[in-house]
């Protein structure tokens, strides 16, 4: 079984140290994600979701525990991983055009020019920005910037995709389209997706499982399986009673997390 585990987070702890202010962001996170799984993470603001994602991405040193990706401990950003940062605006290179931003990682990957151009065009098309390829990021609206960051990640065709509230800045309709885009890609490419969101409906709609995090210092409050059929669509899935049941459950969990409820120490 262990060979189907893509991501193994064991006893993860992270404390931010700065002179005069130590913040224990994550206390003890343990969970596993199978290869090709789509897992959503929800939790109160400031719980440590971004911290967790950064740790998995190999961008932060851990204070304790271990993260293994495909069996090897993560100490630096692993290959084939793409991250959509919560600070989408700051994660775009202002000196490059939208096209340049999407293209750069592909260049780094060593793709030929023609292949790059095709992938860039396709990705920009998918996020609804075919016309803005030559604009600079700071000439775009917030939502457009966020979509560029998403386009960059999907054009990269990663094997692991980490997304940190990637749809926070787009309108409802675009959001729905992007949700479907993520699911399509996930199914097509078999990519392992870890998706942080504040939208509980979204987490249930997208995920195969929803990890609900507790208040800071963070532990896993509950690992909610989403037993909805794999074929989902915005209308029918969202109106199914099962969906409502799960979303209500998750909602209650988040509320209790917010109130400071924590699982019994085992």
């Amino acid at each position: 079984m262990s060979d189907t585990i893509a991501l193994d987070v064991a006893g993860l702890a992270k404390t931010y140290r700065s002179p005069g202010r130590d913040v224990e962001a994550v206390r003890d996170l343990t969970f596993q994600i199978r290869r090709g799984e789509l897992v959503c993470i929800v939790g109160p603001s400031g719980a440590g979701k971004t911290t967790l994602l950064r740790c998995i991405a190999g961008l932060l040193d851990l204070s304790g525990g271990q993260i293994r990706l495909d069996g090897t401990a993560v100490t630096e950003p692993p290959a084939g991983m793409a991250v959509v940062f919560q600070e989408y605006g700051r994660s775009l290179f202002p000196w490059l055009t939208v096209r340049g931003n999407v293209e750069l990682p592909l260049k780094e990957k060593g793709l030929a020019k023609a292949a790059r151009a095709a992938k860039v065009a396709e990705a920009l098309d998918a996020v609804g920005l075919p016309d803005s390829a030559d604009a600079h990021p700071w000439q775009l609206s917030g939502g457009m910037q966020q979509r560029v960051a998403i386009a960059r990640a999907i054009a990269y065709e990663p094997s692991v995709l980490l997304m940190d509230e990637p749809f926070a800045a787009v309108d409802a309709q675009t959001r729905a389209d992007l949700e479907d885009l993520v699911r399509t890609l996930w199914k097509r490419l078999g990519v392992t997706v870890l998706f942080v969101t504040h939208d509980i409906d979204e987490s249930v709609y997208l995920g195969q499982r929803v990890l609900v995090l507790s208040n800071r210092p963070t532990v896993v409050l509950e690992d909610v399986p989403v037993d909805l059929p794999d074929d989902r669509d915005q209308l029918t899935t969202r109106s199914s009673p099962q969906f409502t049941k799960i979303r209500t459950h998750v909602y209650e969990l988040v509320q209790s997390a917010k109130r400071g409820e924590r699982p019994e120490p085992s």
Binding site: L59, L60, D61
Partner: protein, 261 residues
């Protein structure tokens, strides 16, 4: 961990200098060249050359002038730089003239300053130092002010922060990393100009002494002077770092926040 930190930092700070000094020592040990005396000779000459009297009457006044000029440059540079950085009109108006004066070498500019500020005495020397230190501070302030984040400026405007508050809390703080870059650069330029200014109408001073040693072919002594200049630079820069670390703590923290490794 905290305890082992201190010796480590000392080692890091002093490691390379020690190696370089050792290299110099051995490379120059058998030197017979008149202008490249052995380091041992220079070290011997040091205490003889820099006794209390020259320290008090040469080095101290020089350093005082240096600090005076530097502070003037800092004040004027930041003030003018902010004004020029904020106003396109002012920038267009001033830039060519400023660039003109920036390009004029001090050896030919100093006599002109002297024409106004007097040939002897400290005024023209302080002015010379100030004028030389001004440019990096001015340029960096202008660029720092120009590259302020628009969202921050918009925030300040929308909350109707007053002119003074905007300048103080937003513009200056926001451009302070760049101002610091300029101020640091100016520090060593100030030391250089301290020497140059004392070529004119001086009879004492650290710079004048060095030139004097050079002219009277007291080469080991000249080297001690150069070393003293270097040490002065190190001390000033350490002081600068102290101030910078306090006032730019936020910047360091922000830039290092996610870069823990």
């Amino acid at each position: 961990m905290k305890i082992s930190e201190f010796p480590r930092r000392i080692l890091i700070a002093l490691g390379l200098p020690v190696v370089l000094i050792a290299l110099w020592w051995f490379a120059s040990a058998g030197s017979t060249s008149f202008f490249w005396p052995p380091l041992s000779t220079i070290v011997q000459a040091f205490p003889e050359t820099w006794t209390a009297d020259p320290l008090l009457h040469d080095v101290l006044p020089s350093v005082a002038r240096l600090l005076g000029g530097y502070l003037i440059a800092l004040l004027v540079g930041v003030a003018a730089g902010t004004a020029i950085g904020r106003s396109r009109t002012l920038r267009a108006l001033c830039e060519p003239v400023l660039e003109f004066f920036r390009a004029v070498p001090p050896p030919v500019l100093v006599p002109v300053i002297a024409l106004f500020a007097g040939y002897t005495g400290s005024t023209s020397k302080v002015l010379t130092i100030a004028l030389g230190c001004l440019w990096p501070i001015l340029l960096n302030t202008v660029e720092g002010v120009r590259s302020l984040d628009e969202v921050l400026l918009d925030t300040a405007r929308s909350y109707r922060l007053g002119r003074v508050a905007t300048l103080w809390h937003v513009v200056l703080r926001g451009s302070s990393p760049r101002i610091a870059a300029g101020a640091r650069q100016s520090l060593s330029i100030g030391v250089i100009l301290m020497v140059i200014s004392e070529l004119f109408g001086a009879n004492r001073g650290l710079g004048a002494s060095i030139v004097q040693f050079q002219r009277s072919f007291a080469i080991p002594q000249m080297w001690t002077g150069i070393i003293l200049l270097g040490l002065l630079g190190v001390v000033l820069s350490a002081l600068f770092r102290l101030v910078e670390n306090r006032s730019l703590a936020w910047y360091r923290g922000q830039r290092d926040a996610e870069r823990e490794r």
